[in-house]
């Protein structure tokens, strides 16, 4: 090893304290950069560098294990006794107890606890702190805005289920959910009828099935009903919850027993069934619980007994001219039946007329008791108010109308005209003045007629496609809507809309009575007016020679002529009045004055006559639609004036 540096130090100098001195900084070495070395490196531009400022996460899975719970009993045996005492021996236990009681500590504790306990016992005796106060007052209605939330969406699995059935055919047509029926007892099951109501749009691969869904399992239907033709309507039997009746697209009626599977137990024969899709089917109240009736757009209402579907028990042709001719018959679109009035029922027709019928009438023409017309289009829904059977709701074209059975001319109340068709409607089962309507733009409206009549209290957009059917569950809180593409949405409405308010019944009664009275008065007034007109026209026909019945065109022409005549006369009079004024201003001779005075009465007279004529003509214009009685009156007045 080579010695580089030698450092010596005297031994006596060991341990000497070091004396440090400060020195300014001094550059020892300065190495400038050597550019030639840079060639060994490659310049990197841009430089990618990563910065992470998130917290580190890791993924874990936890699967809870179901805890098995079991109830068990415990058998209590005496225990805790000190070792030397046998609990069975009464003497020993008594002795032990006595010993404990003698203990001073024990006495103190007991006295202390005694006071405490007494306090609580007295408290209990004095007042029941858990008493339900204000129990008689009904729960305060929270003023929450009405709302509804979707609780379930059952979309008919055309994408999944049907694809399986039709072997992955991508053109599976979506069918409308045309009718919903809730299970009568549990309200957890929903029967939905699916069919395509487009005219002659039946594709070959379209599925005919209808499903019964269990709300607990919205992914797979509980039961698949397989009719021979798609079902337009499906109803549970309110008495027997296993039986359903369905009306088919081809007019047949079929009934199922859910215990027996998906194929119909019996189907009505084609010859005696309807000729058009069955649009309405309702179970009847009967001792056997097997009767139902159906209606269709072929104009017939048929009564069936389920046990014998080979022919209907009764038929009725919906001919309002009461002749029983099928050609004149109106197509039925909805049926309505109220179990409390078993002999009466109502039919809503395609022509917008509601027909009230009595089943027990002696002769077929008498079966039709009255008609109510008022809708411009088919009456899609017809429902009686569950609280007031005389009031019923019709839904059709763009409005919903409320009718009273007594006023046949017009509805007592109606909603405004909407922008889209109203497709279905029903009353609420809990509140007398609340009803629901569905529209073809996918909106569900909830109307509270006591609260607001111009707008729905709640308007919900359920889906983008038109809603085709609506059904309220029996408890009144859940409503199911079926849409055109087959999706059934269940909504729960807020409690404010489905609990009876305090004075609601009385208020609703008052409202309905008021409106009915108003309509009655209006009706009476109309009748009076018409009678008067008729009486007057009859009286005038004796005086005026028979006028040839004018056609509307002629009437119009004549009225126009007369109108212009009147205008001319007015203008002339005004012109003359002006000139008279001018003349009057110029200080004229008495002649001119008298002249003006003379002319004035004439002008006035004419003016009054013309005023009369104007009034009459206006009246005529308004009534030109056909009140012929007014025309002879006018003629008479003109004659009077002329005379």
């Amino acid at each position: 090893m080579e010695i580089i540096y030698v450092y010596t130090r005297k031994r006596s100098e060991f341990g000497r304290p070091c004396s440090f001195s400060d020195r300014p900084a001094k550059v020892s070495v300065d190495i400038p950069p050597d550019p030639s070395m840079a060639s060994n490196f490659i310049l990197r531009n841009p430089v990618d560098s990563y910065v992470q400022h998130g917290s580190d996460m890791s993924e874990h899975e936890v699967n809870t294990v179901r805890v098995e719970v079991e109830s068990r009993g415990v058998n209590h045996v005496e225990g805790g006794w000190p070792k030397d005492i046998n609990p069975q021996e009464v003497e020993q236990t008594i002795r032990f107890r006595k010993k404990v009681e003698k203990d001073e500590n024990y006495v103190n504790t007991i006295t202390h606890l005694g006071t405490l306990m007494e306090h609580c016992v007295k408290q209990n005796n004095a007042i029941n702190i858990y008493e339900e106060y204000f129990g008689e007052e009904m729960a305060e209605v929270e003023d929450e805005p009405p709302s509804a939330k979707t609780i379930n969406v059952i979309s008919k699995l055309t994408s999944f289920f049907d694809v399986l059935l039709s072997k992955r055919d991508p053109n599976v047509t979506k069918r409308t959910a045309t009718h919903l029926s809730w299970h009568p007892d549990t309200s957890k099951k929903l029967a939905v009828a699916y069919s395509s109501l487009e005219f002659q749009q039946n594709m070959k691969d379209m599925n005919f099935d209808s499903y019964i869904w269990d709300l607990e399992n919205p992914n797979k239907p509980e039961l698949v009903l397989k009719p021979s033709s798609p079902l337009v309507i499906l109803e549970y039997n309110p008495k027997d919850s296993h039986v359903l009746v369905g009306g088919c697209y081809n007019g047949q009626m079929a009934y199922w027993d859910t215990r027996k599977g998906g194929l119909p137990v019996e189907v009505s024969t084609v010859e005696v069934s309807h000729r058009d899709p069955v649009y309405g089917a309702i179970w009847l109240q009967s001792k056997t619980g097997t009767e139902c009736f159906s209606a269709s757009t072929d104009g017939q209402v048929l009564w069936w007994d389920i046990r014998k579907l080979s022919e209907p028990t009764e038929t009725l042709v919906l001919d309002i001219t009461r002749k029983g001719l099928l050609e004149n018959a109106l197509g039925a679109v909805t049926l309505e039946f109220e179990p409390t009035m078993p002999t009466k029922f109502m039919v809503g027709t395609e022509q917008g007329i509601v027909i009230a019928c009595n089943r027990k009438a002696k002769t077929p023409p008498e079966k039709i008791t009255s008609t109510y017309s008022g809708h411009h289009g088919p009456v899609y829904a017809l429902a009686r108010n569950p609280f007031y059977p005389k009031i019923f709701l019709t839904v059709g074209d763009w409005t919903a109308r409320i009718w009273s059975e007594e006023t046949k001319e017009s509805p007592i109340m109606w909603t405004k005209y909407h922008l889209s068709y109203l497709t279905d409607g029903c009353w609420s089962t809990m509140r007398p003045a609340v009803f629901f309507t569905t529209r073809s733009d996918g909106t569900l409206d909830v109307w509270d007629f006591l609260f607001k009549q111009n707008d729905p209290s709640l308007s919900l957009k359920v889906c983008d496609e038109p809603l085709s059917s609506l059904r309220l569950q029996d408890n009144g809180c859940v409503v199911g809507c079926g849409s055109k593409l087959g999706t059934v949405t269940l909504l729960e409405i807020s409690s404010g809309l489905c609990t009876l308010q305090r004075n609601e019944k009385t208020l609703a009664t008052a409202m309905f009575e008021r409106e009915t009275k108003r309509e009655k008065i209006l009706e009476a007034r109309h009748r009076e007016l018409r009678l008067k007109e008729r009486a007057r026209s009859e009286g005038q026909e004796l005086e005026v020679e028979e006028k040839p019945v004018e056609s509307p065109h002629e009437v119009l022409d004549r009225v126009r002529r007369e109108f212009f005549e009147v205008i001319e006369a007015e203008l002339q009079r005004r012109a003359q009045a002006e000139t008279q004024c001018l003349r009057g201003k110029v200080p004229g001779t008495g002649q001119t004055d008298s002249h003006s005075r003379d002319s004035l009465p004439w002008g006035w007279g004419h003016g009054s006559a013309s005023a009369f004529q104007i009034k009459d003509c206006e009246g005529e214009e308004a009534a030109v639609q056909g009140e012929e009685s007014q025309l002879p009156k006018d003629k008479e007045e003109e004659e009077e004036d002329a005379a």
């Binding site: 024990y106 858990y130 339900e132």
Partner: protein, 95 residues
């Protein structure tokens, strides 16, 4: 004697069905009910009281359980825990 008096007074109150005094080990010292019921109540309530007391103590060590009321549909059971004994009263109340 005082003990007797106290217990009698409590028992005399309106609505009190029964009174039980239990010592620290859970042995019923005094009771106005029959034996089997007493034993049942003693066993169950003793444990519950211990648990309640330990809960209160766990939350705040300075705290201690003074009284325990168990309200049920038919009765109310009131437990007054002490150091060495526990007194239970079963009361019947009417809503």
């Amino acid at each position: 004697a005082e003990v007797e008096e106290t217990l009698k007074r409590i028992q005399a109150h309106k609505g009190v069905m029964a009174t039980i005094v239990i010592n620290a080990e859970g042995i019923p010292i005094r009771t106005t009910l029959d034996n089997s019921t007493t034993v049942q109540y003693a066993g169950l309530l003793h444990q519950l009281t211990m648990k309640a007391r330990s809960t209160v103590r766990d939350i705040d060590p300075q705290n201690d359980l003074t009284f325990l009321r168990i309200r049920s549909k038919k009765h109310e059971i009131m437990v007054a825990p002490g150091n060495i004994s526990v007194k239970i009263t079963i009361e019947l109340y009417v809503l």
